[in-house]
Structure formats: structure tokens, C-alpha cells
Symmetry: C3
Subunit: 329 residues, 3 copies
């Protein structure tokens, strides 16, 4: 596997290089074959400790990281904020340094505040801790492992034996839904643009402000398009990525009703007719059936890559834990 990995933390896809994307994709491919083997485990991180610090709860993502770490033979510590000393007045950084002192080598951090993992990583670096920080979702900022598993899923769909980011060249990919609040969308935009795809965003204006594009810090911005209607985003699209709609958005007056949202932006078999033949649909989960996507489409294996995304999530997280766990600063 790759020896020339040069990144200690996984914080954001904003500055990922094409070479890095390809390293992740090829390493994930190796681990996917480990997962299909009989033993399913490798001793790659034996003796290392992965601490899951989920300040914002998420069973699904935590389980995926936990399984990835266990299959690399790491020891896993789960931190549950409900019963933590945070309620006792400790700062987040004190919690983090405690886990470092205890022996954690990698900290997987989810937090509702954008930038918290980055801030933790830079403080841990100042302390020469040697600890790697893995952002598992920070506020509306980034969710890099989701972006990379989506990338891996799309690239495997285009060439199962040799997934590489250049496969995205010239593809049209639609991202539909609550773009404004989505860390998933923000991660995907960077990886898809870096791969040469055209990225078309579609959402009602309250969830996709006119100035959204200005906030995207990519040199490939000219391939990023904003739509307040579904059709222009879906026309001739190769892939459609739907996003989870937080029901809280309605009480914030950003949405009229879930029913109206589905009528305007929900993805259905019918609407996929606008796309290229062979179009595939992704969703980061958990899905609101009948809102972002129709229940029938979600369960249609001819179109849906949702199950693949979950399976690939373990392989991609194994790859990333492996790469940062073996990085020698």
C-alpha cells in the first residue's frame, strides 16, 4: 500500500490533491477486497487506539468508523458526551488532551461547530502530540469521509477494477437538496470538481442562496452551477446526489411543507427520465422516504447506490485510518 501519503489529519477536502484522491481510492479498493475475504481483518493498526469523540450523536457513522477501526485490529474507545465530564465544566480541548494522554492515536471527531476538528488538530500539533484528527462531520463545514466514500462509489461505478478520480472528467453530477446546511455537499463539491466533473446544484432559494458559489474555494468554480429548479440540474446528468432534509428547517420557515418540497425537488423514477440512461442515485442517509427521494426509487437496485455507499463507507474509512495511522510526520 501507499507509502507516500503526506497528510496527518483528515479535516476537509478543500485542499486535497488529485494524487491524494487516487491514493484513497486505490487503498479503499484493497480494503474492499479484504472485506470480501474470509478473514475480513488485517493487523494494520494493532496496538493503536482509535477514540470516537462524537459530541454530536450519530450511531450510523460511529458504527462505520468503529467497524473500520476494528477490522484494522485497532482498539476502539467510544466517548459518549451525555455521561461525560463536559457536563462537569471541562473544555473540549481538555477532554481531547485527556484521551491523548491515555494513549489515543487517532481521534475521530464529530461536532456541531464548524472548524472544531481543525482547531483541535492544530492545538494537538502545537503540543507535538503525534495524534491524528479525523473530522467525522463539523457543523455545516465538511464531512470528508462521506465525500470520499461517495467519490469511491461513483468511480467504482464507472470502473470497478480501477477507480480513479479522472473517471469524473466530463461527467455531469447533480446535487439536490439542502445545500446551504450540508457539510456533505460542501465535501462533495470539492472532490467532484477536482475530478473534472460538472456539478449542478438544485434547491429552493432559501436552501441555496444566490451567493453560495462565492463561498466555494475551488479553482474549478466555472464548472459549478446553481439552479433553483430541478430540471436543468437533472438534464443529461450521470449521477444524482440527494441530500437529507432536516425537518427542523420547516420550523425555521425555510420550507413551506415536506409535501411541497417533494413535489418540486423530490427525486422519482419519472424525473430520472431527464437524466442520461444508466443514471445512478446517491444519498448519504438516513433517508426521509418520500421527501428527498421516492420510496420506490430508493429501493430500486437499478438506480440506487445507497447500499453501496454504506458498504464502501467501511472500506474508505479503513483506507483513511490506515493512511493516517501509518503516516510518519
Amino acid at each position: 500500500m501507499n507509502n507516500n501519503w503526506q497528510r496527518k489529519h483528515i479535516l476537509s477536502l478543500e485542499d486535497f490533491t488529485v494524487a491524494e484522491y487516487d491514493m484513497v481510492l486505490s487503498t479503499a479498493l484493497s480494503f474492499r477486497s479484504v472485506l470480501q475475504s474470509k478473514t475480513k481483518k488485517v493487523p494494520a493498526l494493532q496496538g493503536q487506539v482509535v477514540a470516537n469523540l462524537f459530541f454530536e450523536p450519530s450511531t450510523r457513522t460511529r458504527s462505520s468508523f468503529e467497524l473500520a477501526a476494528k477490522r484494522l485490529s485497532a482498539d476502539v474507545l467510544n466517548f459518549s458526551p451525555g455521561t461525560s465530564s463536559l457536563t462537569k465544566g471541562e473544555t473540549i480541548m481538555d477532554t481531547v488532551t485527556t484521551y491523548w494522554s491515555m494513549g489515543a492515536n487517532i481521534m475521530v471527531i464529530r461536532h456541531s461547530g464548524a472548524g472544531v476538528p481543525l482547531n483541535i488538530a492544530s492545538q494537538l500539533d502545537k503540543l507535538n502530540s503525534g495524534v491524528s484528527v479525523f473530522n467525522a462531520g463539523d457543523g455545516m463545514h465538511q464531512h470528508p469521509s462521506q465525500g470520499l466514500l461517495d467519490l469511491f462509489t461513483i468511480c467504482c461505478c464507472l470502473d470497478a477494477d480501477n477507480p480513479r478520480i479522472s473517471l469524473l472528467e466530463g461527467k455531469k453530477i447533480a446535487i439536490v437538496g439542502d445545500i446551504l446546511h450540508s457539510r456533505v455537499a460542501r465535501s462533495n463539491i470539492y472532490s467532484l470538481l477536482a475530478g473534472g466533473a460538472e456539478v449542478h446544484l438544485a434547491a429552493p432559494p432559501t436552501l441555496l442562496p444566490m451567493l453560495f458559489k462565492e463561498t466555494v474555494n475551488s479553482k474549478y468554480q466555472e464548472r459549478l452551477f446553481v439552479h433553483w429548479e430541478l430540471k436543468p440540474a437533472l438534464e443529461e446528468a450521470d449521477f444524482v446526489m440527494t441530500l437529507r432534509l432536516q425537518k427542523e428547517r420547516m420550523s425555521e420557515y425555510l420550507l413551506p411543507s415536506l409535501r411541497e418540497y417533494h413535489q418540486l425537488f423530490g427525486i422519482t423514477h419519472d424525473r430520472l427520465k431527464w437524466c442520461k440512461p444508466g443514471v445512478k442515485v446517491l444519498h448519504p442517509g438516513p433517508v426521509n422516504r418520500g421527501v428527498e427521494i421516492s420510496s420506490e426509487l430508493m429501493d430500486d437496485a437499478n438506480y440506487s447506490l445507497i447500499g453501496e455507499q454504506v458498504t464502501n463507507g467501511v472500506a474508505v474509512r479503513m483506507a483513511l485510518l490506515y493512511l493516517i495511522g501509518n503516516y510518519k510526520g
Copy 2:
């Protein structure tokens, strides 16, 4: 160990055959000697993932399954519904397929709704998932591993070196308590009748309706007896199984008071004099001391098999996980 096991899921004892009961008993016996060895672990399920999905909380049963899985060298994922995406509007089946996609091989499911594990199993089969479902208690329906560990405990009591279901032939077994709401009773009735025992149920009429017998779908129903008094059930009994009394039943007006219940149906040293000499008492736990059973009797090792039941629970669950984990459809 047994190669001719033909069951992929453990859902109910209703249709278990004598051959299957004996396979479970002999496999559990092997694992009990593993537990008494120095190493205590076998690599039987190495690389396999057991997901404990407890939609209804239970530390005791979850710990027993977790330990059984770990001693078979499986990786264990615990799902905690409190912090789950269920609160985010996902269906149970979406949660289940997510864990399948993540790589779970066996799902241990506890749910307050009768039939939920069966429904999940049939949907997973339709998807050709290869996942085994293990019902760890569904509503008032079934709790098969409890039934099998009770069976193992009774049979070991009758012949420690060769527990087999035919040992029940001609034995009289009383089940006392809240039969109506008990999935434990429903599982035990099937196994005990299949083994040739006479099963005598005793409870106040509110907890044991006259028509209860009609709901039992066993060809051996003629050996099932219903009593609204304790004495006829206990007379000459070989084993007395007591059930946990949910204190909620009082607020539902099904019970006058715990004190009165204990006076009429509580098991004590005195009342055991009605039984055969050498009678033994079982309880699935947790016990309300002084309600279902007197505190003194519970702690009397001459009568109580309660500790044995817990110990055997790990061996029986190892056996069942082993059998379904190695079943090739």
C-alpha cells in the same frame, strides 16, 4: 460440532424440531466446557460481525449476547436507539439494511413489537442479504434464547453429561406468574411440550385468560394445563418456573397489590413442599425479590437454578450464534 443445522434465523420455538433442540443442547454443552477452559475463546466467528440492535433496552441480555459473540471471536456493534437515526425519521428496515450494508452477518434484535424480527428476517431474505436474524425478545411473542437456556438448564439438571430433550418425558413443570404478557412463557411452553413434559400454568385470571390455551399452537396441547390457583400447578412438580411481574400491571388494574400477589402466587420454601423432593426453581431475571419468589428461596442454592440460567445463557447463545453463523443456506 453439528453440520446439519438447517435454520438461518432464530425467531421462535414454535416450529423447532426435537432434532434441533438436541443439536442446540449438545452444542451448548461443548461451549460450556470452552467456558470452563483456561482460554475461554474460540475463533469460530472470527471476522464476522454481530450487531446488537436493541430497540427495547436490556443491559443484561445485551451483555450476554455481547459476551457470547466475543468469545466466538466475532466483532460486536452495539446500536443504542436513544442516539440513533430512528429519531431522525428513518424506518427500522432502513436501519437494518444499513447495518447489513456495513457488513453485519448476524443481527440480534429486541423490539417491543411482536413479529418485528420475523418481518425483518423475511425482508432481509427477499434481498438475498445472507444476514441471520436472532430474536432477542419481541413484544409478548417469543424469546427463544431464553427458552433454550431454560431447557438446557433443566436438562443439565437431569443429566449433566448428556442433556437431551427426551429427559423431559413425563416430568411435571409449573410456570407461575404473568403468563399473558410473557414471551418467556410462550417460548418455554413450546420446548417443554415438545420434550414430553406436562406443563402447568398458574396465575390470576387477569394474567391467564381462560382462552389462553387456544393461542398455543402445539400438537401436544393436551399436556398443557391452566390453573387459577397455585397448588394444583405445584403438586408433584419437578421444576417450577417463575416469571417476572411487571409492576406496570398494577396500574393497569390487572393486579390488586404486589403483597396480595405474593400471598397467592409467590413461591416460597413452604409452598415447594407441595412439589416433588428435589424440585428446582427457575426465573428469567431480573427478580422482584419477595414478589414472584421469596428472597430466601432465591438465594438457596439447594433449590434455585437462577445463577445456572445466567451462566448457561452465555453457552446457549454461543451455540446458537455458532450454528446460524456457520449455516450455509
Copy 3:
């Protein structure tokens, strides 16, 4: 490693002998080098089950015990009281015997009631269970592993290659803060006095009653001093141990305000000038920054041993689990 360890349970430091302290220190030193090795794990407790029964929640201490147990290759069961059968009316002792029957070899118990672990240990002994009980903090009584990791940290500071309790001979150690309610202070007082140190307690009278000394059952009481002011405790001190201040104490009218407490008893760079050059500061964590200790001092590696304490916590708990796990009664 040591074969002449004679203690089955770790309940209190009150009756620890000098030989026992030294055995713990030398065993912990061995494990600290295991932690610095590449593999970080030893098979010392393979097949053994460590059950963490934390009736009072504590992520930090539970993680430390969990990691210690995993690095000894034990299987770990975590008991979460929130979802437990305790709410179902079971006694603590019934929960404990259930875990014993399930196969637990060591039970790590934290409880808000002083004496609960001792009581459990003596009941388990009466049952000839063979189970070891490890007190992880009981009410205001004892927290022996904290006392021993503090001792190890201080002794390593005095002689990193050969930590032994006699190094404390003639040292002056101040313990500052909420002595009255602190199980940490109670454990530390016994170990420090046994090692030959002078122990100076400092706190406001509400947190350090005049008669406190009478409650300390050590033959070395003449080396224990009580102060209601900070200065006499700190003058010429070699080590300063600060204690966590429970904010609840204010609502109990034991404290005027956190600000005033910090002005009178908070440890700062300035106040350390009263101490010996080279003085070091300890705190059991989690810290209220700016209350017990100034934020700057806490982060100053020239003075603070707080990170060391956490790291040593894993090594000391490994040592103790190893010693009791291999004790043959």
C-alpha cells in the same frame, strides 16, 4: 512480574503495606514500557472478562479502565445504569451476581455510596465467587487507583527508572481543595503518609472541618497537618495536589463564590513561589480552569503533571488488573 501479591480486591489504600505499594509501582513501570513499545498489548488476561459497573457515570475513568483491560487482552463489558434492570427493581447485588454468573472475573465498580464495593466484595467472597472487586471510586470514601497513579507519578518524578515509595521520605506534599468530600484526598493521604511524606491539607473550614484528622486511620497521623490558609501548606512544598471543586458545593452554602475560592485557594504561578524550586502540580481531573488552578499553570509543562497522571493511569490500572487477575486465593 510479581508472584507474591496477596490481595484479591482493590478497595482502599487504608491497609496497603509498603511492600504492596512497591509491587504496584514496579509492575506499573513494566507496563509503562509495554505502552511505549510498538505492540502495546500483552496477553496477560486473555479470556478473562472485566465488567465495568459504573453506577455513577464517568467517561474518563471508565475509558482508562477499559483501555487498561483491553491492553491486557481481556474482554470488557460496560454496564450502563441508565438502561439497566436496576430501574426494574433489581438490587445491586443481584446485578453483580448476574455478571458473575455470566463469567465476569473482575468487576470495576463506581458508586455514589461509600462502602458499596467493599460490601459487594465481601458478599461475593461469601459466595466463593472467585470474582475480584476493584473500587473505582465510592462516594466520599476511596479511589485507590487514583491514589496509586498519583503515587506512581510522584515517584517517577523523583526517580524515573526506579519508582519506590521510600522516595517520599521527608518530602512535603500539599493537598489543596475540597478535602471533606474527596475520595481522592482520602486515598492519597494514606499512600503519602505510608511513604514517609509530610502531608499538608489546605481548604476553607467548611471543606476541611477541624476534626477531619481524627477520621484518618493512619499510624503516621503526626505527619498530617491541617491548614485553613494556603500559604503554610505551600511553603517549601515539593508537590502540590489540587482537587476538583464540585460546583454543587456553592448551592450547599459551603462556598461564597468560585471567584473568591480562587483568590484564596487557587494555585497560580505566583503562589508556587512559596514552594521548593522544582515543585510540581497534580490534579485528578476534570479541571475547572481558573478555579482550583489557573489556566496558564495547568498548561505549563514545567510544573503540571496532569498529562502524566492520565498516561500513568492506564499503566497503573493495567498493573492492578494484572495483579488481582493473577492472584490465586
